[in-house]
């Protein structure tokens, strides 16, 4: 039969490795991010701006903290803020993509759902890196922040990797609230988490009750942990417990919603 001869032999058709994950795709995703001026403004410029306001104040900037100073301490806080904002908005992009039907479109390609999540994570991390580097470079150029050279590297790496926790948060929220204004929700939630984690105001200035409550919020553990190399002193295991607990909650939530989304009913 003439119809069959022209059809490509099914055995010649291959499935892509790594579920379809490719650096070239990440490159296109990053280009898309760069086009989005609002995301860039919020994640890269805001933390720098906050550092310039709070981190250079001469009344306390040079006060000592461990082997460094308060300016370095605030620099770490602001870089963390930028990094988590970047990773959570990167994760939350799934909301917009689901709304546009793009996720559905991807499901009629060889791209596997897990590879799609991996692409989102890596893209978020790249944006997060930009946010961290922006704050650290400004910290370097303004000459107020001071700590041993290895701590610049260690703290930057720790908070950058740690911000993956919030990629899970962003995915969770993105799958939970498929709407255009998911970014506003994320921005507001992170503002609250940042206060709770002590990124903007030291927790010691809170009332006892508020301070007690703050230790249960999702940025508390991560914030304390990334500052630990600088602050040193006694290690508090509740920080690690907080981080692990929220990692489990966000990841489980994201997986639950993700499963629900990709289930073929």
């Amino acid at each position: 039969m003439s119809a069959t001869e022209a059809v490509i032999d099914i055995a010649d058709r291959e499935e892509p490795p790594l579920g379809g994950f490719k650096p070239a795709i990440v490159r296109l995703e990053v280009r898309r991010l760069l086009r989005n001026r609002r995301t860039l403004l919020f994640t890269v410029l805001f933390p720098v701006f906050f550092f310039l306001i709070f981190g250079l104040n001469s009344s306390y900037a040079k006060n000592r903290v461990g082997p460094g100073n308060v300016s370095a301490f605030i620099m770490i806080s602001m870089a963390l803020y930028g990094a988590v904002l970047a990773t959570s908005s990167g994760g939350a992009m799934v909301a917009v993509e689901r709304l546009a039907g793009w996720s559905r479109q991807l499901r009629i390609t060889p791209l596997q759902p897990a590879a799609y999540i991996a692409i989102k994570m890596v893209t978020s991390l790249i944006l997060g890196l930009a946010a961290v580097l922006a704050v650290y470079v400004v910290g370097l150029l303004t000459h107020k922040a001071s700590m041993p050279a290895y701590l610049w590297v260690v703290t930057a790496a720790a908070l950058w990797i740690g911000s993956l926790l919030f990629a899970a948060f962003g995915l969770f929220v993105g799958y939970l609230l498929p709407s255009e204004n998911v970014m506003q929700v994320i921005g507001f939630a992170l503002m609250l988490f940042s206060f709770g984690g002590g990124l903007f105001i030291p927790l010691s200035q809170f009332s006892h009750l508020l301070r007690e409550m703050a230790t249960y919020t999702p940025l508390y553990g991560l914030n304390e942990l990334v500052h630990y190399p600088l602050v040193q002193g006694t290690f508090n295991w509740t920080w690690a417990a907080n981080l692990v607990a929220w990692l489990v909650i966000f990841t489980a939530g994201a997986i639950w919603r993700f499963r629900k989304d990709t289930a073929r009913t």
């Binding site: 069959t4 058709r13 499935e15 060889p110």
Partner: protein, 347 residues
């Protein structure tokens, strides 16, 4: 009486597997066996058996809510049938998708506004192991000139061409088009089909859902009519066209003689609705002449049979009284094949 038990002139009422002898050897492009799909209490697909051979160009024709999109989703592996099985080239639909054997132009959505046309095609090309060159498919779809434009700034027709370009990338053996020309003007529709034709690869199976009878007639070798989740007819486009070229004659007439009307040559369906009578027929002149000369009928109207009416004429499902339905008269093309087994025999 079930719809499919009635005789339908010139049309094979259901696509039973194996009803086309000699086409069973290569794996069918699409093989649906006893497929049902329920959404809660809604039964969107109610037992479809359909085998589409490699290389066929098939129109999936049906009114809104017939179950076309639901069926296409199952063929694409986007959803699973509640009952029955779906195979694509003998494979699970998702495996066929992963191998780039199948692609689709969806009814709506599926594009990101903040990417350019060129980026969208490039992105899609990265997802497959092997694709045709992006520049080539963009040329085919006629979007080379707008490659640098943001998708959000493209017109509906341009977006549809973009979807088409994306669907061509994997050089699929099966291309599914879900109302691909919806919302396009006549010119856009013509250009779209010209592009599909130009790219027609020998052996590529094309299945498209449409409301437009002209489209089915012009581009398909085979037309599958679906209605309320069932295949009500399956035949060549010529056969379907003959069906829909019928007319409806409507008149106000008390105590119409149904048998007399039914015996006029070319009449295939007579409906009495209170004091009015509706006759589906191929020769409206004969019916009008009879009504105006032999009966006190008045307010006579003659209308071309729309798709929906064609379905009603075909199936009698919605007719309040199927007495004198298609089965009672010869009708045009009565040499056509008729349903060999009643619908109920499937369970």
């Amino acid at each position: 009486m079930r719809a499919a038990e009635q005789h339908v002139p010139g049309i094979v009422p259901t696509g039973k597997p194996g009803h086309r002898p000699g086409e069973v050897h290569p794996p069918a492009a699409i093989d649906l066996v006893g497929v049902h799909k329920r959404f809660g209490s809604v039964e969107a697909v109610r037992g479809i058996d359909l085998r589409i051979g490699a290389g066929e160009v098939v129109a999936f024709l049906g009114p809104n809510g017939a179950g076309k999109t639901t069926t296409i989703d199952m063929v694409l592996g986007l959803s699973d049938p509640t009952e029955g099985t779906v195979a694509v080239f003998g494979l699970d639909p998702r495996d066929a998708v992963r191998k780039g054997l199948v692609s689709a132009v969806m009814q709506s959505g599926g594009l990101l506004k903040d990417m350019t046309v060129g980026e969208t095609v490039a992105y899609t090309s990265f997802l497959f192991v092997r694709t045709r060159p992006p520049a080539e498919v963009m040329e085919r779809a006629g979007i080379t000139d707008i490659a640098g434009r943001l998708v959000g700034k493209c017109s509906g027709g341009e977006q549809q061409r973009l979807r088409f370009a994306m669907a061509l990338l994997p050089d699929p053996d099966l291309l599914l088009l879900d109302e691909p020309t919806q919302g396009m003007d006549v010119e856009g529709r013509r250009a779209f089909w010209a592009a599909i034709r130009q790219d027609a690869k020998a052996g590529r199976t094309i299945v498209f859902a449409t409301h437009y009878l002209e489209e089915a007639d012009a581009y398909a070798d085979r037309v599958v009519l679906v209605r309320k989740g069932e295949v009500v007819a399956d035949g060549t486009s010529a056969e379907v066209k003959a069906l829909a070229s019928g007319r409806t004659v409507r008149a106000t007439l008390v105590d119409a003689d149904q048998d007399a009307l039914g015996s006029i040559a070319g009449v295939d369906h007579v409906e009495i609705r209170g004091s009015s009578v509706v006759v589906h027929c191929s020769d409206s002149d004969a019916v009008a002449r009879y009504l105006l000369t032999q009966t006190p009928a008045r307010d006579l109207e003659v209308a071309a049979l729309g798709l929906e009416e064609a379905f009603v004429a075909l199936t009698g499902v919605d007719g309040p009284d199927p007495v004198g339905g298609p089965g009672s008269t010869g009708g045009p093309g009565s040499t056509g094949r008729t349903n060999p087994e009643p619908d109920g025999a499937r369970r």
